[in-house]
Subunit: 347 residues, 2 copies
C-alpha cells in the first residue's frame, strides 16, 4: 500500500500505527487499541477490584491491555505506546500515582510497573486531564486552542488545555474546578471545606438536597420511584426523567444546579477567558442540551462584558470513551517528545 508523504503522529492513517488508551477508575478498567485517526480498533473492559493488592490490580490492567491488543489482531510489539488516564493525584513526569483514594493507592509507580509488564513506552496523567485532552483533540473541542473541560458526576473534575496542550501548573494539580469556592459558608464538601462547586452542583450535592427534601421535609417527588425505589446516589437518567415529567422538586434542584454551574463557569471565564468549556460527565450526559443552554444563560449573566464573544459551552462528545481516546492522544504526543529509541536505550 502507498502512504501519504507528509504526516504527523496525530493524522497519520497507516495500518501499523497503533497505540493503546487506558482508563483506570475505581470500579472498572477500560483499554482500547486506537489508530492515528482516533478510531477504536478493539477494546476490553474489566473490573478494577481495587481492594486487591496493588500488584494484582496492575496485573489486571496489563491483562486488560493484552486482551484489547489480541482482539485487534495485532502483536504487542506492533503497539507503539500506552497512554493511561488514572483517577487521583499523580505526577505525569515521573509516572507516580501520589494518591488515588478510589483505588486505595498512595505512591504507586504505575508507569514503571506497567512498562515492566508490557515492555511498551507508557505515559500516565490524571483521568480528567486525559479525558479533557481527548475531547480537545478528538471530540467536542477539535480545533480549539484554549478550553476547560468540566465533568459533572459524583464529584466535579476538570482539565485545562492552553495553546492546545494540557496545562498542569506548578504542582501539576491544575484543573480542580470542583474545588473552586462559589458559596462561602455553603454546604460541606467531600474535601472537608465548605462551598466548593462540587458541594453545590455535583451528583452528590443533588442527592443530598433531594434526600433532605424528601426524607426530612416530606416533600413529594416521583424521583425515588425513578431511581429504583431509593435515594442512595441518584442516577442522571432518573434526574432527567423526573424533570421531563414535570417533577417540581427535582426541577427546582436542577435549576439551582444550573445556577451554580453557571457561576463556576463565569468565574473561569472572568479569570482565564477560555474559548470553550466542554461539559461532560454523567449528570450532563443525562440532562442534555436544554440543561447546558440554561447553564450558558447563567454564565452570560455573571461573565463580564466582552468575555463571552465567540465563547462556547458545548457538550462533551466522547462519553465513556473520552479517557481511552485522550490516552491515545497522550501516548502519541509523548512519543513525539520522547522518541522510542531513547526508551529502548534505557531498557
Amino acid at each position: 500500500m502507498t502512504q501519504p508523504e507528509t504526516k504527523t503522529a496525530e493524522t497519520t492513517n497507516s495500518n501499523d500505527d497503533y497505540v493503546v488508551g487506558v482508563d483506570i477508575g475505581g470500579t472498572k478498567i477500560l483499554a482500547a487499541v486506537i489508530d492515528a485517526e482516533g478510531t477504536i480498533k478493539s477494546q476490553s473492559k474489566t473490573g478494577t477490584k481495587a481492594k486487591q493488592e496493588v500488584d494484582q490490580v496492575i496485573d489486571r490492567i496489563a491483562r486488560c491491555i493484552r486482551r484489547a491488543i489480541k482482539r485487534s489482531g495485532l502483536e504487542t510489539s506492533q503497539v507503539r505506546a500506552i497512554g493511561m488516564g488514572c483517577a487521583g493525584t499523580l505526577d505525569p513526569d515521573t509516572g507516580l500515582v501520589i494518591l488515588a483514594v478510589n483505588l486505595g493507592w498512595s505512591n504507586v509507580p504505575l508507569r514503571a510497573k506497567l512498562e515492566e509488564r508490557m515492555g511498551i513506552p507508557t505515559f500516565i496523567d490524571n483521568d480528567v486531564n486525559v479525558g479533557t485532552l481527548g475531547e480537545a483533540v478528538l471530540g467536542a473541542g477539535k480545533g480549539v486552542k484554549d478550553l476547560v473541560g468540566i465533568f459533572v458526576g459524583t464529584g466535579i473534575g476538570g482539565g485545562i488545555i492552553l495553546d492546545g496542550q494540557l496545562f498542569h501548573g506548578a504542582n501539576k494539580l491544575a484543573g480542580e474546578v470542583g474545588h473552586m469556592i462559589v458559596k462561602a459558608g455553603g454546604p460541606r464538601c467531600g474535601c472537608g471545606n465548605r462551598g466548593c462547586l462540587e458541594a453545590v452542583a455535583s451528583r452528590t450535592a443533588i442527592t443530598r438536597q433531594l434526600r433532605k427534601a424528601i426524607l426530612k421535609e416530606g416533600k413529594k417527588s416521583i424521583l425515588p420511584k425513578l431511581n429504583g425505589g431509593n435515594l442512595d446516589m441518584i442516577r442522571g437518567g432518573a434526574l432527567a426523567k423526573a424533570v421531563t415529567r414535570g417533577d417540581k422538586l427535582t426541577t427546582k434542584i436542577m435549576r439551582r444546579t444550573e445556577k451554580y454551574l453557571g457561576m463556576g463557569i463565569a468565574s473561569i471565564v472572568n479569570f482565564l477567558s477560555p474559548q470553550m468549556i466542554v461539559l461532560g460527565g454523567g449528570v450532563i450526559e443525562a440532562m442534555g442540551s436544554e440543561f447546558i443552554d440554561a447553564v450558558h444563560k447563567v454564565t452570560l449573566k455573571y461573565a463580564l462584558p466582552n468575555t463571552m464573544n465567540d465563547f462556547q459551552i458545548v457538550k462533551a462528545k466522547l462519553g465513556d470513551e473520552a479517557v481511552i481516546m485522550g490516552g491515545s492522544v497522550l501516548a502519541r504526543r509523548m512519543l513525539e517528545k520522547e522518541p522510542l529509541e531513547e526508551k529502548i536505550d534505557e531498557a
Copy 2:
C-alpha cells in the same frame, strides 16, 4: 565604556538603552524613563483630567512623557519605545481601548494616537496586567514562571503570568480575579452581579460594611476619626491604624476580608496551581505582612492537598511604580517581537 558581550533586552546595561513606561489612571498619569536594568532615570506626573475631550487627555499623556524624557537629559529620538498600562478593557494587539469607565472612553485607538504624537513605537495593555508584568520581571516575582497578581484597592484587579508571559485568553480579558464568584447570593458588586470577590474583599466592600455597622447599627469604632472624620472611602492607612489600636469592629471586618481573599486565592490555586500569588494594591500595602500571613493561612485551609508545595503568597514590591516598571518590560518585549525596522517601514 565597555559593554558585556552577551546581552538580552532585559539585562543590557547601556547608557543608550531607554524606554518609557506610562501609567494611565482615572485621576493621574505617570511617565518614567527606565533603563534596561529597570532603574528609573526620571519621571513625571500629571492629573488625567478625564472629563476633558479624548484628544486633550492624550495630549496631556504626550506632554507628561515629553517632560519625563526632558528630565532624563535624553532626546525623544533616544527613547526606543513606550509601554503603557491603561485602566479599562482594551485590545493589546490593536492598541484600542474598548471601554475605560474611569476615563469615560470607548473605542479610543490610544496606541495609534500616541504613536502619531510621539513618533515612537508604542505598546499598551491593561494597567493591572502591566503592573503584574512589572512585579513578575522586576519586582516580587523575579524568576517565577507562573504567577497571578492580585491588586486590592477600590476594586480587585488581577493579571496572569504563564511561562513568564502575560496570559490574555481568548477574549484578551483574562485576569479578572475580582469577578470570580466566591459567595453566591452575597453582596451586590459594581459589575451588577452578587458575590464577586470584589464585592466582599475590596476597599469598597470594607467601606460598605463599616458604614453599615457604624451608621446604621450604631457600632462603636475609632475608624471615622482615623479616616478624617468621614466614612466615604476608607483609606488603607486608617484601616491598618484601627487594627493596630485594637478597634474591634475594624478587626472583625478585616478578618472577614482575609477570609474571602484566602478563599479567592484557594480557588485560583485549585484551578490553576500557580507558583506564586503577588498581592498588591492600597489595602495590602497598608495592612502589611501580618494580613498577608493571615490570608495565606486561609488559602492553606481551602487549597487541596499538595497544591501548596513551594507555593508562595508575597507582597508586591513596586508599589505605585508597578505599572511604569511593567510598561518598560512590555515595551522591551514587544520591541523584540516587532523589530523597530518594521515600524519605520510602516511609517
